[in-house]
Point group: C2
Chain length 398, copies 2
């Protein structure tokens, strides 16, 4: 996939002037200040209603701040997924990662949410590592050997999230292709160049591997004859629009999706996202000093002087440290509310707010890195030897 | 492949008026009276010179009527293949079949020539069954299950030709894809839509599988780091033009090719070739009565009445029975010369000429069908268990 996580950062940003109200969201690029309401309208997805949110939380048996705070805010057919689950027909989860380099916090959050869904609903979970796509992507300049290596590296970070080893199958396209190819042909037969040109902006210069690739990303949504729920950043939605147009004619369900917003880059909510700027993200492997420094330099909603801050207060809406706490790092609504109040009132200083986030991020990454080491033992279960993995290696999808 | 054999028949003919001097040759269509000199010029291949022919026959240690009579008439880099062979660097053979239905005589002749090359040079031979492509091909209307089934059926006919089981690997794309996919990605990365549009006439309505497919057909020419010689009908040449433009940048040799003409359909040298007309070809599984009837009805170069024939003689140039003897069924030049002479003089009647061919075809197919039955025991060696096959299943091409 051009699986980017809820942090649009990793995509090479094309230089381009944009007016403030403009924004671009494609599977390969997120630029400008995203208007999520406009995006929902443009993509034809639905905002998760209060009723649907309550129903999801009720069925899950527990709430999640990623839902309550509308980080996962949009969907397709989530109601049908719950219909199926309530009626005992079940469903399955599918998400993925484009292994183009090391993963950062924005990349991993959707996996933690996916694990939360798996834990609550006890469902099979398929995680695709698109080493083929990241090699084929124009302008990225990675060798296939590199994307295959990153697939193995990223798999460890994903394994560190703690999925159920017998209900989770992590696979990379270049290894699992023989099992997917027959069905990918059937999908590809239904998609012409004109369509991928319109949906993804491909043109006559696009290489033929890239034009074919959407067929590969669609396949895992057809791994079972049940409804598939795809937790993903909203930029992935174009793939599911195609999937939904062709899946029923092949005897499968239309994919359902639950879409997240993008975590703002450290440089600020209007800053340009770019892989060429490692300062704009915190990577999962980073050391304590780099983490402290990056957060310290992050875009702030505070006032230019201490006096003004005490007097006017900070603006959490545009403050990256606050936004990161809101998006992921402070799940407790009470604590977050207090932080917001104190920041707005000027009682909490920018530096103090940044230190709160820093402690949270350090703790999270310390634990993540330790689980990543333990995951070296587990990775074979996810990819080859676990109960679901063994079943999947025997299955030819067609 | 749009592997069609030296009989262009199997491609769905688009209805279209053509002036007599017009002809069309693409991997999916052969129409009109082909001017082979023009084709060589258009494709940029070379006519096999007398010197090169002698050298090939000398290296082979034996002549072949398919060479002497210029059925295989054109080439790319055949001289370099012989350089390599003479210097002990060796080479390998690659050909294929698009499994869209039962095979006819036009399809199988190139395989007999390929076997002749293998016998003479003792080289590895790779035979690709393109079940993917025949499914993806627009307008053919075959299911993937059908093309996969035809791949197995056609493999038996190919095995009946008698290749060396330890030097031959017959494979179908949907089964062998995992081993080919990494290299196919590297090839696909170098080909854009604009290029396949120009070479194959694809357009925006072409499905994305078909646009990607040329990358798959190129891979077997890169199976070894030696020069690959591809015996094939000249309509396949567009694939090798692309192969030759990209192979060296990937660290492989440019493919060499030896191209055949098309065996004329039974309805006559200017007749329209069409898969929808089973009367224009003789299938390998056909019974004696059908064979007799079809040859009896074949286009003749004889005169309308016995008297006129005795007086004016027949015209072997346009006589399908004579042409089939010339192309394949009468390897003895002396005997063929006598037949031609007698036919031109009016001594040999059309019916007599047809009976000569009928006996040859009946004998050939009886033997072929018997070897096909025996091949049921051998097919596993070619596809999975033979020396070369075992080696190939272990190898990931990248």
């Amino acid at each position: 996939m051009a699986w980017v996580g809820i942090f649009g950062l990793s995509e090479p940003g094309e230089e381009r002037d944009m007016r403030e109200e403009e924004f671009i969201v494609t599977p390969w690029k997120v630029e400008g200040k995203v208007d999520y309401n406009k995006l929902v309208e443009k993509f034809g997805t639905e905002i998760i209603s209060d009723e649907l949110l309550e129903r999801l939380i009720r069925d899950a048996g527990e709430s999640s701040h990623l839902l309550r705070r509308r980080i996962f805010f949009s969907h397709r057919d989530l109601d049908k997924v719950l219909d199926d689950w309530e009626a005992g027909r079940g469903f399955f989860l599918y998400t993925g990662r484009g292994p183009s380099g090391p993963m950062h916090i924005g990349h991993i959050i959707p996996f933690y949410f996916t694990k939360w869904l798996q834990d609550r609903f006890k469902v099979n979970t398929y995680i695709q590592l698109t080493d083929d796509e990241k090699y084929l992507e124009e302008g990225r300049g990675l060798t296939l050997e590199e994307t295959r290596k990153w697939a193995k590296e990223n798999a460890l970070d994903i394994a560190a999230v703690g999925f159920d080893p017998d209900r989770t199958f992590i696979f990379q396209d270049t290894e699992y292709i023989r099992n997917m190819y027959p069905l990918a042909l059937k999908v590809a037969r239904k998609i012409n160049f004109s369509w991928v040109r319109a949906v993804f902006g491909f043109d006559a210069q696009t290489n033929i591997g890239m034009s074919f690739y959407p067929a590969i990303q669609i396949i895992p949504s057809l791994f079972e004859k049940r409804r598939c729920l795809i937790p993903c950043a909203i930029d992935q939605d174009p793939y599911w629009r195609i999937q939904r147009d062709i899946s029923e004619s092949l005897g499968f369900h239309k994919a359902a999706a639950i879409h997240s917003k993008f975590l703002p880059p450290l440089m600020g909510p209007t800053g340009k996202m770019s892989a060429s700027d490692p300062e704009s993200a915190i990577y999962l492997h980073e050391g304590k000093e780099d983490i402290r420094r990056k957060i310290w330099k992050a875009y702030s909603g505070g006032q230019p002087t201490l006096e003004l801050h005490r007097k006017l207060g900070g603006n959490p809406e545009i403050d990256v440290a606050y936004q990161w706490l809101f998006y992921f790092f402070e799940p407790d609504d009470g604590k977050l509310g207090k932080i917001e109040e104190d920041y707005r009132s000027g009682k909490l200083l920018t530096g103090e707010l940044k230190l709160i986030l820093t402690e949270k991020v350090l703790k999270f990454l310390e634990e993540h890195q330790s689980r990543r080491e333990e995951a070296r033992e587990l990775i074979n279960l996810y990819m080859y030897d676990g109960e679901l993995a063994r079943e999947m290696w025997k299955k030819i999808h067609e």
